[in-house]
Assembly symmetry: C2
């Protein structure tokens, strides 16, 4: 807990380069914000993209975390929490239309205009907080934010047992999306290039196709692009059937040369998909519907954050966590 003396904290900061800053200023929460002592945090593909220039962001990285509220209103003080990442104004046209996640003036934790969670303390608007129930461990809780993003796919796109679905990608998000889709009982395949993570799917009984063995045939009702690279969209277009749905979860810094004519000719619906419903993710983890623990490859202390980013970019590892407290 910050005291008069502890006005500087350890933080993993991106500012042209990624570095550990042992003297980063202690966050000063506004009146509507809580100060949270971070326990554990997760490194996500978006964090890695940011270090390549995505969002032109500078500051403390990280948006997946669990921690304890050390300062804030009585409702929240002492609670173990995680937080939604979009910090909103409540007044703009988007907020007024119930689309607060798209607030025109939003800051986004560790992504845009607001320091993230790879630090000892983080300040977050109390309206963004979700309490983490006792049934969910810290290791699980850091997955609430990305798992919510995975649940968004089934919120946006109705999936039935007979729906033929392909997930493109074999990274962290793809594994979460695949697990969420598996709960629907649909006809599911994961298409990726990473044999390590495809193995993870196979062990869960999810059918996989190595990208190099893929026979492109446009007969999947729904294709979810979680590839995180621009080629994934082209692969997805080759697999989705005419009048099918392509869910785009990937955000990449790089553009690519894409011919969108097949989208028009085959009358494909492309659904952009970003953040998702925290309550669904919290419920699923509490019920143990989704296995996230076996996705954790390594836990490193915050002080080894730069090394942790290198591991998180290594295809042999799935999820790298940063142990911030203890």
């Amino acid at each position: 807990m910050p005291t008069e003396k502890a006005t500087q904290v350890n933080a993993l900061v991106f500012n042209q380069t990624l570095r550990l800053d042992a003297k980063y200023p202690d966050p000063s929460p506004r009146e509507d914000e809580a100060l949270i002592e971070v326990h554990l945090a997760g490194i996500c593909a978006t964090d890695i993209e940011i270090t390549k220039g995505y969002m032109s962001y500078e500051g403390v990285l990280g948006h997946e975390f669990v921690g304890t509220v050390v300062r804030g209103s009585r409702r929240w003080r002492g609670r173990r929490v995680t937080a939604e990442i979009n910090c909103v104004c409540g007044k703009c046209d988007m907020c007024q239309q119930g689309l607060a996640n798209h607030c025109r003036k939003r800051s986004v934790i560790g992504i845009s205009g607001r320091d993230g969670c790879f630090a000892q303390f983080i300040a977050v608007p109390e309206r963004n907080l979700h309490e983490v129930p006792g049934a969910i461990s810290d290791e699980q809780a850091v997955f609430i934010e990305p798992l919510a993003a995975a649940y968004q796919v089934v919120k946006q796109c109705p999936i039935e047992k007979r729906t033929r679905v392909a997930v493109i990608g074999s990274g962290r998000l793809a594994l979460l999306v695949a697990q969420v889709l598996r709960t629907t009982g649909c006809r599911l395949e994961v298409v990726g290039r990473n044999e390590h993570t495809l193995d993870f799917c196979e062990k869960k009984g999810i059918q996989t196709i190595s990208l190099s063995d893929l026979v492109p045939r446009a007969d999947r009702d729904v294709v979810v692009d979680c590839s995180g690279n621009p080629d994934g969209f082209e692969t997805a277009m080759r697999l989705v059937r005419p009048r099918g749905t392509l869910v785009l979860k990937s955000t990449c810094a790089a553009g690519t040369r894409i011919n969108l004519a097949p989208v028009a000719v085959n009358e494909i619906t492309v659904l952009g998909s970003r953040c998702g419903p925290f309550p669904d993710a919290i419920g699923a983890l509490a019920r143990r519907d989704i296995d996230v623990e076996s996705m954790v490859s390594r836990q490193l202390p915050l002080a080894r954050g730069v090394e942790a980013f290198e591991l998180a970019s290594d295809p042999r590892y799935i999820k790298i966590l940063l142990k911030v407290k203890g």
Copy 2:
């Protein structure tokens, strides 16, 4: 009407280059096909794209036409008709699922695997025919196919009076889409670079914005990209609000460098849109809901087809028709 002697016809053929062939073989309709003597045909952006390599098509160009059935079943003989462009197998998974326009084995009139209508005669499956009512002139009737494609936008995407809609493009299709959208009473703007065609909109009471004056603000509920060029999609992404809908009508031969991240971040729905409902277009023309006659800039005889293509590519003209008969 083809006789024993007339076994060769005039046809505008693309085969690496565009040329008039005075000795093109007379079409030989199959049992389920009608032979139609073409009266009048329209040159469309897709025809021009094909001459740039789109679809790698070779053969008689053209898919917008009106003509008289000169050979076929009693139901159709002597009727003035136009035709849907997708010629389908009726047996594949798409046909069986009621998505015959996406038939796996389809040929498409003048676009893929089947000669088009820029010729004295064309053979078309009778199931593709629509009778043109007497209330619709030949000049109007050639617009049935593209107008149907324009009606597809309002079939796919619900538009209400309060819906804020932008149409990107100032070509032929954009003018049809804009006119269809205007019938909904929505808040409509057309964004384009062609002052001649924007004038056409203004005369119809449709608000226009010159592309050079455009202030990009992502606040339109629906944006329809009819630009026919790859930059149109980027412009559309800049105008559509978060969680809004981008209808993609453009098909271009060229790919472009696109960063699709905004689609994911802003959770945009992209609807690919191609062919549309002929009955809606026929009804609208018969009721005079849509003015197509004043879109006709010039009518040239088929023999001047190559020149007609040049005019159709000239931004000073809107629609160029080919007079095939008489």
